[in-house]
């Protein structure tokens, strides 16, 4: 039964922010796909509306049960996600050279999206079980290391460099929040420094090229160099007030690559200027701080750690995507969550937001 207190404690603020975000996303997609639609093509923004509707249903569903259930479900869900990641390597749909999608009849989804949330839950379980206040030493961390390494490896194998490293970032963020003693920290940093060349040589040729073209865009004038250049023109030409809705020339003339997915932010920045982009960033910042507040006020460590992990997902995705389209980071193909077009990513993000609200609602409940 739904407790009355649950409704009293329902996180209306977060829900409101999400609804606002959905509106902005759909409006922006309408503009981003305008040139394609004119040609009689796509109804992408309509599809995104449907995805948001499904997303909100998933969000509400994720608030209905007590999140303790996740603790028990953590490992089965983890192995399920791993199984899907293995399956996608064999049965996945190949698009532009990598296998990231599993098809289920008419819909297809990326198992790596599921893996993100599941990994957060599994790590949260690990860090909550050990109810000590000691800082973690390196040798205490072998378990989270393995738990992260397996999905990371499978995703890199698809190959999806961006998402693979993204997973590692989330895991590291959670470890740092859980407290590590400073000696281990130094060793960790040193080890990752040593691992860098190993990762480098483990990369596929095109992945190496991407990193190189980020370091010096003139090396790849036809690929990512061109994309970053056009994206920077789009963002910069927005200036302070922007060119206005549907008036972005870069967008209209289709100079932007992937303008409804990875480069959706550039469309917003062109049409709404610095004002619009900063407001969007502030919305994300608000979500992040709100999430950390939920983490702090959660009545137990498990909830705190899950909330922290979800915040890490939001934070890194925003930083990587915005960094990428503004030319601060290499183009790794990470979409902007709750903003770019894409069903898999949207549903999994909404599920994560639902869990966040779930934790928030139950912060006063002691049984």
């Amino acid at each position: 039964m739904l407790d009355r207190r649950l409704i009293q404690n329902f996180d209306w603020v977060l829900l409101l922010v999400l609804l606002m975000q959905a509106g902005i996303s759909i409006l922006n997609l309408y503009s981003a796909t305008y040139p394609i639609r004119e040609m009689g093509g796509s109804e992408i923004f309509l599809k995104q509306i449907y995805w948001f509707l499904i997303g909100f249903a998933v969000l509400l569903l994720a608030t209905t049960f007590n999140y303790y259930a996740l603790e028990r479900l953590a490992y089965p869900a983890y192995f399920f996600a791993i199984a899907l990641l293995i399956l996608v390597l064999f049965a996945g749909r190949v698009t532009s050279g990598s296998q990231r999608w599993l098809s289920l009849g008419p819909v297809s989804f990326q198992p790596s999206e599921l893996a993100k949330i599941v990994m957060v839950v599994v790590l949260a379980k690990f860090f909550s079980v050990r109810g000590e206040y000691k800082k973690y030493r390196l040798r205490d961390l072998w378990q989270p290391f393995i738990l992260t390494a397996i999905p990371c490896f499978l995703i890199l194998k698809e190959p999806d460099l961006g998402t693979g490293l993204f997973l590692a970032l989330i895991s590291i963020s959670m470890v740092l929040i859980a407290r590590v003693n400073w000696k281990s920290l130094v060793i960790l940093i040193g080890a990752s420094g040593l691992a860098a060349p190993l990762i480098w040589f483990g990369l596929k040729e095109y992945q190496q090229k991407r990193v190189l073209s980020f370091l010096s865009p003139e090396m790849d004038p036809l690929g990512t160099g061109y994309h970053i250049n056009q994206s920077k023109i789009a963002i910069g030409s927005g200036q302070f007030w922007g060119k206005g809705f549907l008036k972005g020339t870069q967008t209209r003339l289709h100079f932007l690559p992937e303008q409804h997915t990875d480069f959706a932010f550039s469309v917003l920045a062109e049409e709404w200027g610095l004002i619009g982009s900063v407001i969007l960033l502030l919305i994300y910042l608000f979500m992040i701080l709100w999430g950390l507040n939920i983490a702090k006020n959660s009545k137990d460590r498990f909830g705190s750690m899950i909330a922290t992990g979800i915040v890490a997902i939001i934070f890194w995705q925003v930083v990587i995507n915005v960094g990428m389209v503004t030319g601060l980071l290499p183009v790794v193909g990470i979409p902007l969550l709750l903003f770019s077009y894409g069903g898999s990513s949207l549903i999994s993000t909404m599920a994560a937001m639902g869990i966040l609200m779930n934790i928030s609602m139950r912060r006063f409940m002691f049984q």
């Binding site: 040139p35 303790y68 160099g225 056009q230 910069g236 870069q250 920045a269 062109e270 610095l274 601060l328």
Partner: protein
């Protein structure tokens, strides 16, 4: 109810401290992002605004040059030539009707076609150039060039077009190029290719597609209001495709094709001691250049549905009953199995009766008593009927397979067929009825279910003169990049058929006799100074011909006439060339096919000395 982890104020306090650090970090990072936006949109905003207003920087592909295809003497068979294509940018047309009028008078462009193409393109991006005419003539090009300033929006692109130097020469080996298909794109068979690319569709063009293709380059160019390139912002040079050298001898190839003119058939010539294909002709043929210019639907349909099957490579995919050529296999099988000795004589009185069926020898009144040698030389059917009965069909099949029949030879070209060597099991599975005695008898002379390809036959005689070594036929000598880096070099691939040398010697001797002895069936292949060996074959097209139908060849309708085979090798002592000739509905192998084989052998061996 699940047991919650207990609330712990100490833990919560520690978390609070960690979170403070995290918040600080987050604020700093967001600060950096906002600063970056400030830098792009405010500091450099005006610059970017100006650039976006004049953004005419476009990406232009620079297609790579496809590699050349050469013959064994490095003579160019396929290369590229420039094609001048006429394009229009719809957005920049000022007066459409006027422009089209001018173009039709200057460039020989029909108004309707141009209207149609422009209407079709109207749904696309207005800046995207639309191709109105490919491969303009020199005159058209000159008149358009001289009126360029009256023709806003018109552009001329130069494109390298595949050019098959000798129209129709070796087309079945070379193959042709065509636009990449939907399926090929989806299957990521050629991951580097994009929609609209021309790729190898058949033959060598397909086999070495990845190597021939080269790597696409491109440039970021700045264009002016009329769409002309005014500056190259940056550029990545394309890399030309690798060149492919074939084992084919252009001269021999064209001789082979000439000999097939007006006929349906095929000629394969190969080097028996390494499997290199010297000539591979199939008739009727086609001119691959026609595929480049783009075939209209009707021409294509005609080609595909024509009863002549010009696209079919008969040497590899034509499956014919081998007729008497199969006796080579029979003789070897019988000797190996010991069911006959070279000396044993079998009497032929013109036919063999089995149950209530009678199997005739081609020689009406019989050969009398014949041993193995004479049976091969004079191609006595009754002798081999008898061997067939002694061996049984499964033993025959076992040796036929060892000698490379009934399966693909593995040549480095696409769509090869394996032929068919029947067994009792096969018959039961395929037809659901047991094998009949009579079927063994007709199989023994290469009729009935037995099917082989001409390439397999050339390979068969090669192995007999090779001490039983079977070489995989190949057409590629090397594949090398323009800078000389080698991607592939010919290396012979072979296996042992496992036939005893003395048995091979007996058959070799008999095959020399076929051409050189008085009663030999292949005397038309005889040369004065070179010892040629070979075997004739006549493959019945209609299984049952009416009793006593000893009609003259000319009286039989063409499509019911027999296929003529001749398989030859020379010089017999140290063979350098093996040839298989098949003339569809040519009649007797000895008369219809042997002279062709002789011409080819002669030309090749003379050129060598």
């Amino acid at each position: 109810m699940l047991k919650p982890s207990h609330f712990d104020p100490v833990s919560s306090e520690i978390l609070g401290k960690q979170l403070k650090v995290a918040i600080l970090f987050i604020l700093v990072v967001f600060g950096i992002l906002i600063l970056r936006l400030w830098f792009l949109q405010i500091v450099n905003g005006p610059t970017y605004r100006a650039r976006s207003e004049h953004n005419r920087i476009r990406l232009q592909d620079i297609p790579p040059f496809r590699g050349m295809i050469l013959d064994r003497n490095a003579e160019v068979l396929v290369d590229n030539r420039p094609s001048y294509d006429l394009y229009v940018i719809p957005e920049e047309i000022q007066d459409r009707s006027q422009l089209l009028n001018r173009l039709s008078s200057l460039g020989g462009l029909s108004r309707e076609t141009a209207e149609h193409l422009l209407d079709k393109a109207a749904r696309g991006y207005p800046f995207k150039p639309v191709c109105l005419k490919k491969d303009m003539s020199r005159d058209e090009l000159a008149s358009i060039e001289s009126h360029r300033f009256d023709l806003p929006g018109v552009m001329i692109y130069v494109r390298a077009q595949r050019h098959y130097f000798y129209e129709g020469l070796a087309s079945h080996v070379l193959g042709y190029v065509g636009e990449i298909s939907e399926n090929q794109l989806l299957s990521s068979q050629f991951p580097k290719n994009r929609p609209g690319d021309l790729i190898g569709k058949r033959g060598v063009e397909l086999r070495w597609q990845t190597q021939l293709n080269g790597i696409r380059g491109g440039e970021q160019v700045e264009v002016d209001a009329v769409g002309r390139k005014i500056a190259v912002v940056s550029r990545k040079a394309p890399a030309s495709g690798a060149n492919v050298c074939l084992t084919i001898d252009k001269r021999l190839q064209s001789l082979a094709e000439k000999s097939l003119q007006g006929k349906h058939g095929t000629v394969v010539a190969m080097n028996p001691s390494n499997g290199k294909i010297l000539a591979l002709a199939s008739s009727p043929s086609y001119d691959p250049n026609r595929f480049i210019k783009g075939l209209d639907e009707k021409t294509w349909q005609d080609m595909v549905s024509s009863k002549d099957f010009p696209l079919q490579n008969r040497a590899l995919t034509g499956q014919y009953p081998p007729g008497s050529v199969f006796k080579i296999v029979m003789a070897l099988a019988a000797l190996e199995e010991g069911v006959v000795t070279p000396e044993e004589e079998i009497s032929c009185n013109g036919s063999l009766s089995l149950g209530n069926a009678t199997y005739r020898c081609w020689k009406k009144h019989g050969h009398g008593r014949v041993n193995l040698h004479r049976a091969l030389v004079e191609s006595c059917d009754v002798y081999f009927y008898t061997l067939g009965r002694r061996l049984g069909v499964d033993k025959i099949a076992q040796y036929a397979r060892r000698l490379g029949l009934g399966k693909e030879t593995g040549i480095d070209l696409d769509t090869e067929k394996g032929g068919l060597i029947p067994t009792t099991q096969w018959k039961l599975k395929r037809w659901g009825i047991p094998w009949q005695q009579g079927e063994t008898v007709i199989s023994a002379i290469g009729q009935g279910f037995v099917l082989t390809t001409p390439l397999q036959m050339a390979n068969l005689i090669s192995s007999v003169f090779n001490g039983g070594r079977m070489y995989t036929p190949q057409v590629t000598e090397w594949v090398r990049k323009a800078n000389g880096e080698s991607l592939f070099e010919f290396a012979a691939i072979s296996r042992e058929a496992g036939i005893k040398p003395r048995h091979l010697a007996l058959v070799k001797n008999a095959l020399v006799g076929v051409v050189n002895q008085p009663h030999g069936t292949g005397s038309k292949a005889r040369l004065n100074d070179i010892v040629v060996a070979g075997k004739t074959g006549t493959a019945q097209v209609v299984a049952l011909r009416k009793e006593g139908a000893s009609k003259r060849e000319e009286d039989i309708p063409w499509e019911f006439r027999d296929h003529a085979w001749f398989v030859a090798i020379a010089p017999a002592s140290e063979p350098e060339i093996a040839v298989a000739v098949l003339i569809e509905h040519g009649g007797h192998g000895g008369s219809a096919a042997a002279p062709t084989a002789k011409e080819i052998i002669k030309a090749y061996l003379q050129a060598r000395s």
